[in-house]
């Protein structure tokens, strides 16, 4: 990690709303129908924030939620970001992508979509809702027809880990990449942690499978190592929370990452303080993050909050 903080994050995750038409069992932010917060950033406040991101030269903005496209002004905000040439990536559940929306999305550049799929039909719909799998596959077909850069995002769980080869094939058949994310004890995932987290044998299976799939994109430090505890490749698979990246929530509060939205790690508000002030403050929280080996969110959400990431330890020790 750098000793001197960067003047600005390289990338941020911006959860634009907690509203969502789905109510997934493991939602990292606890989003769902009617979960919008009353004081989410207005369109004008969001645009002022985007202008500050541009001024600070933030390279990339990852839009999440909630479901971003339930915000009536979402397309307007995406146009504002892409017009400023900020790489803009949207994580969506794939159910809100009607043709009129895709007409506007198709015209934006640089813009990429990430569509969630947490298993094949049975497993996905058990977590995300009846009929969602078919809607997502339909969305993937329409995105492919329009040649819109798309990645399928799968949160790897106990129930879907052995389906990854088929999910990979399905994504590939639609011209989409696959990105894996680790299930973390955050939001409703805190309650579902023991139900969905991988068992050790599954962790080893996952990492061995990844060895043969270098084109699969991965998130977080868990994937920085292979099943033997060796560094997989020379990318940024280190924890960048509070050093390379941060999270801005729907009301503008700033945290080190999407999975560490705890009051003691909050560092300011983009509406009240401005983003630069919040970013400068976050460097002082970094030491609390650095104390944990692996993913701090998993470590801090596990039975020993002061300990290390227990799943990473399973790889390192092989036990």
């Amino acid at each position: 990690m750098e000793s001197e903080p960067y003047s600005a994050p390289v990338t941020i995750t911006w959860e634009v709303t907690l509203g969502c038409n789905l109510h997934c069992d493991h939602c990292l932010s606890g989003s769902g129908p009617g979960k919008q917060r009353p004081n989410e950033l207005t369109t004008e406040e969001a645009k002022a924030f985007i202008a500050e991101l541009d001024e600070m030269d933030v390279f990339q903005v990852n839009i999440g939620g909630g479901e971003p496209f339930v915000r009536p002004d979402m397309l307007e905000l995406l146009e504002e970001l892409t017009a400023r040439n900020i790489s803009t990536c949207v994580s969506t559940n794939g159910t809100q992508l009607d043709e009129a929306t895709l007409d506007r999305v198709e015209a934006m550049d640089p813009l990429f979509l990430q569509v969630s799929m947490d298993g094949l039909r049975t497993e996905n719909d058990a977590i995300r809702g009846e009929g969602v799998y078919d809607q997502v596959v339909d969305a993937l077909e329409r995105l492919e027809d329009r040649d819109i850069g798309t990645t399928v995002n799968t949160v790897v769980t106990r129930g879907n880990v052995y389906d990854l080869p088929e999910i990979y094939d399905l994504a590939e058949a639609h011209g989409a990449g696959l990105r894996l994310n680790r299930f973390r004890p955050s939001g409703r995932g805190e309650d579902a942690w023991d139900e969905f987290r991988l068992e050790e044998e599954q962790i080893r299976y996952l990492h061995e499978w990844l060895e043969d799939k270098p084109d699969v994109r991965t998130g977080d430090s868990f994937f920085y190592l292979n099943a033997l505890g060796e560094v997989r490749n020379n990318t940024l698979k280190q924890c960048g929370a509070g050093s390379l990246t941060c999270l801005v929530d729907p009301v503008g509060d700033v945290f080190p990452c999407a999975f560490t939205q705890w009051d003691h790690l909050a560092s300011g508000n983009v509406r009240e303080d401005g983003f630069q002030v919040a970013w400068d403050e976050i460097a002082s929280l970094r030491s609390q993050i650095d104390d944990h080996e692996g993913c701090p969110a998993v470590a801090m959400g596990s039975s020993d909050p002061n300990g290390e990431d227990p799943q990473l330890r399973a790889i390192l020790s092989g036990d």
């Binding site: 001197e4 960067y6 003047s7 600005a8 390289v10 990338t11 030269d57 390279f59 990339q60 990852n62 790489s87 990536c89 994580s91 550049d109 640089p110 990429f112 990430q114 850069g149 990645t151 995002n153 990449g177 990105r179 994109r217 991965t218 998130g219 977080d220 994937f223 920085y224 020379n234 990318t235 940024l236 698979k237 960048g240 390379l244 990246t245």
Partner: protein, 80 residues
């Protein structure tokens, strides 16, 4: 025909108090990105190239090895 160099759209860069950063990534997340801490000179080159320049013009302003090195890394590409 003049050989041109340009910066691919997915390459981002900025100055930092000491040198600068070059970020190479497409799509969601950042963990799969490559990022380089670079000298002021590299940032100068990228600003100079902007949307595209004749390669010989960039080499004359900086040096042929610098341009070659940036092309090798994919930070610059042939053509506009």
């Amino acid at each position: 025909m003049t050989d041109a160099v340009s910066k691919p759209g997915y390459i981002k860069f900025r100055r930092e108090p000491d040198g600068g950063l070059v970020y190479d990534h497409e799509n969601y997340g950042y963990e799969d990105a490559s990022m380089y801490a670079v000298s002021d000179t590299v940032i100068d080159v990228l600003e100079f190239v902007d949307d595209g320049r004749a390669r010989e013009e960039v080499e004359a302003e900086f040096s042929a090895p610098i341009v070659e090195s940036l092309v090798d890394k994919g930070v610059l590409t042939h053509g506009e």
